[in-house]
């Protein structure tokens, strides 16, 4: 392997893939970045076995020439040293040469490094993208999907499957679901270029998706998604992000959503959020219990009590109210989390009695749904 590369392009891409490399790698090979030189460009790969990031540097990018490849080849170099070396090199171009013993010579201007490499065959094999098994999502839509569901995943390790977001695709509709068994967030999106892909029980770790959301560049228009048996691949122009899937069966969430309701209300999201935030100031730190009571046709009362500290009462006017009177308690923090991602002026809430879960969704859209379990207090 031998090539000469523009240093700034190299540094930028090394930073991308370094995000996947963990300092506490379980396999020795995963402390490294895999560098493969092809005739038409270079790929860099980093992985911590949960997520993997692959960046492609094309030899020619429009009119610019990034890389001049003399000999193709592959090597794995220690990320810790390699990234810093490239960053600190003196000139604007870097030359990499690999010899037979996996020793890589890095040369820039008058400085020369020799780094011991590892066998690229030892690096975990990443699944290939197969034509026809992928669908395309707009980047901003993908980010919205992640933002609106990832907050609801469980952080407890007791049921690992709940630390993931369930993706299911059926008749060109992608359904994302996350739950920690006390609350549930669901977001549906129409996929235009679905390529007739259908799948179910694909559970992607919430952490991976949050990471993906950070890495995705806003300048990217679309992302191609491929689901394989063990991994899910997100492909932007020159960046490939892979995450392993969680093993096991995701709970059947469809049956949890009540189809009928006894009380329906509609309230302005901002006022509701502010009122609950104030009520939370006096709720005990652990359960965040907030009580809600219907006063009359257009007024709700939100209260919270901690006997040793005090009590707060606030009334919120509601735009619409129909059905039975209501007294209910719930975890206020969960409601706030959901209200933060509902980008709508008004929210509609459907209650089915004080002991049953209730649904909240934006009043003007129906692609999003949040479900909460009430807290039993009286």
């Amino acid at each position: 392997m031998k090539f000469t590369i523009q240093r700034d392009v190299f540094v930028q891409n090394i930073q991308h893939v370094s995000k996947a490399i963990s300092s506490r790698a379980t396999l020795p090979i995963l402390t490294g970045i895999k560098i493969v030189a092809f005739d038409d460009g270079i790929t860099l790969t980093g992985s911590d076995s949960d997520i993997s990031i692959e960046a492609f540097i094309p030899a020619e990018d429009g009119d610019n020439s990034n890389v001049d490849i003399e000999r193709p080849g592959a090597v794995v170099l220690q990320a810790k040293y390699f990234a810093d070396i490239i960053k600190k090199l003196p000139e604007s171009t870097v030359e990499l040469t690999l010899n037979d013993q996996m020793v890589t010579k890095i040369r820039s201007g008058s400085s020369e490094f020799n780094l011991n490499g590892q066998d690229p065959d030892d690096f975990p094999r990443l699944p290939e993208v197969e034509e026809g098994s992928q669908f395309t999502l707009k980047t901003d839509l993908l980010k919205a999907l992640i933002k609106q569901t990832a907050f609801a995943v469980s952080t407890a390790e007791t049921r690992p499957i709940l630390t993931g977001i369930h993706w299911g695709m059926e008749s060109e509709k992608l359904m994302c679901t996350a739950t920690d068994s006390h609350r549930l967030a669901m977001r549906e999106a129409g996929v235009e270029e679905s390529g007739d892909v259908e799948f179910t029980n694909v559970v992607i770790p919430g952490k991976s998706l949050t990471e993906l959301s950070k890495i995705l560049d806003d300048s990217e228009e679309t992302v191609d998604v491929t689901v394989t048996d063990n991994q899910v691949l997100f492909k932007a122009t020159n960046l490939l992000f892979l995450s392993r899937l969680l093993d096991g069966n995701y709970p059947a969430t469809k049956n949890m959503i009540p189809s009928q309701s006894k009380t329906n209300i509609q309230v302005p999201a901002k006022q509701l959020m502010a009122a609950i935030e104030r009520a939370l100031l006096l709720s005990d730190g652990k359960n965040n219990v907030v009580n809600l009571k219907s006063l009359n046709e257009n007024e709700l009362e939100i209260t919270s009590v901690t006997p040793e500290v005090g009590k707060v009462t606030e009334s919120v006017s509601c735009d619409a109210f129909e059905g039975e009177e209501l007294r209910i308690s719930f975890n206020g923090k969960n409601i706030i989390d959901a209200l933060r991602v509902i980008e709508s002026q008004d929210v509609a809430i459907q209650f089915t009695g004080a002991m049953s879960p209730f649904i909240m969704r934006p009043a003007d859209r129906d692609y999003m749904l949040h479900l909460f379990s009430p807290v039993r207090t009286y």
Binding site: D122, R125, N230
Partner: protein
């Protein structure tokens, strides 16, 4: 040792059972490899992992050259997880990390292997946390637990794994091999009774440590009978400064155990099987002085001490208590 046929030279039964299971695709989900040091438990675990993962097995023998085989050996296989004690014990966090790893689908294939070494050092919390997951693995998982003695493993774990007992190599063979490599017979016999790992035995000689340690234990055993009141001084002056860390105390206790076994051998007339062959006179003398019952008690005392040595008892107290018990009723 990289193939079943090589394994069958030392552990014929185990090699046959495992090879047949791989051949018919009827591997159990968890195995417990039990046996002394040098009996090839780790090599067998690696061999089993390779046979399980290799895609080009010929009659259940791994090919040893494919990516799977090579990475399993270099420790770079993403679906092979090895757990070794972190310090003195295997901590519950290590098992948690393993569990988290197993909540994900395999990195490359659906197959996963985990190898836990020195399973007996697992803390109770770690062992309990392993239980459920050992019983109901998701997908195609293979667990290999390695231990020196199955007796120290929680019965709840034991009942969930298939136990494979690795028989110790006959000491005669090790002795002969050591003598062939140019070691004196009296020391070769001692080393062979301490370990069946040839390389470890050689290492013992490299530092002359074992022959010195042997002399010191012999002196103590002598003093115990002939000059009982001086035995404590011997302990303080020679034994304690020499056998400093826990591992060395264990070896000292092993040497004492071998001594009493030799005395017993002299009593029953197996004088050619004794380990301390240069001490035949003393052994014969003690064989007359000690009753079989007393010898049994002494052996028991040494065993108890060995167990305590594994459980954070200060070595000084441990050895002194042992001396008291050895001198009881004599």
């Amino acid at each position: 040792m990289q193939t079943w046929s090589e394994l069958s030279e030392t552990q014929p039964t185990i090699a046959r059972v495992l090879q047949n299971s791989v051949r018919r695709g009827r591997l159990a989900h968890a195995y417990l490899f039990e046996g002394g040091r040098g009996t090839g438990r780790r090599a067998a675990a690696l061999l089993l992992a390779r046979a399980f993962l290799c895609e080009k097995t010929v009659d259940a023998e791994p090919c040893l050259v494919c990516r799977e085989c090579r990475r399993a050996e270099s420790g770079n296989h993403p679906d092979v997880h090895r757990i070794q004690p972190d310090g003195q014990t295997i901590k519950v966090d290590q098992i948690r990390a393993l569990k988290k790893e197993f909540s994900m689908r395999g990195m490359e294939s659906a197959k996963k292997v985990y190898i836990i070494e020195e399973t007996e050092t697992m803390s109770a919390a770690a062992a309990n946390s392993l239980l459920k997951f050992l019983e109901e693995p998701e997908g195609e998982a293979l667990a290999v637990l390695i231990t020196a003695s199955a007796g120290q493993i929680l019965p709840t774990i034991l009942s969930r794994a298939q136990v494979m007992s690795f028989s110790p190599l006959p000491p005669d063979r090790v002795t002969k091999a050591l003598v062939e490599r140019g070691f004196r017979e009296k020391e070769a016999r001692t080393a062979a009774s301490l370990t069946s790992d040839l390389e470890e035995a050689e290492r013992m000689f490299d530092e002359e440590w074992i022959s010195q340690g042997r002399e010191k234990v012999v002196q103590l055993m002598n003093d115990l009978i002939s000059r009982p009141q001086d035995a404590y001084i011997t302990v303080h002056e020679t034994i304690m400064p020499f056998f400093t860390d826990r591992q060395q105390i264990q070896t000292a206790l092993d040497l004492m155990m071998i001594w009493y076994r030799d005395v017993l051998r002299m009593q029953v007339g197996q004088s050619d099987a004794v380990v301390y062959i240069d001490q035949e006179d003393t052994l014969t003398k003690q064989a007359f002085q000690l009753s079989q019952q007393k010898l049994g008690k002494n052996l028991q005392a040494v065993m108890d001490a060995k167990r305590r040595a594994g459980a954070n008892v200060p070595p000084q107290l441990l050895v002194e208590q042992l001396l008291l018990r050895l001198q009881e009723g004599s």
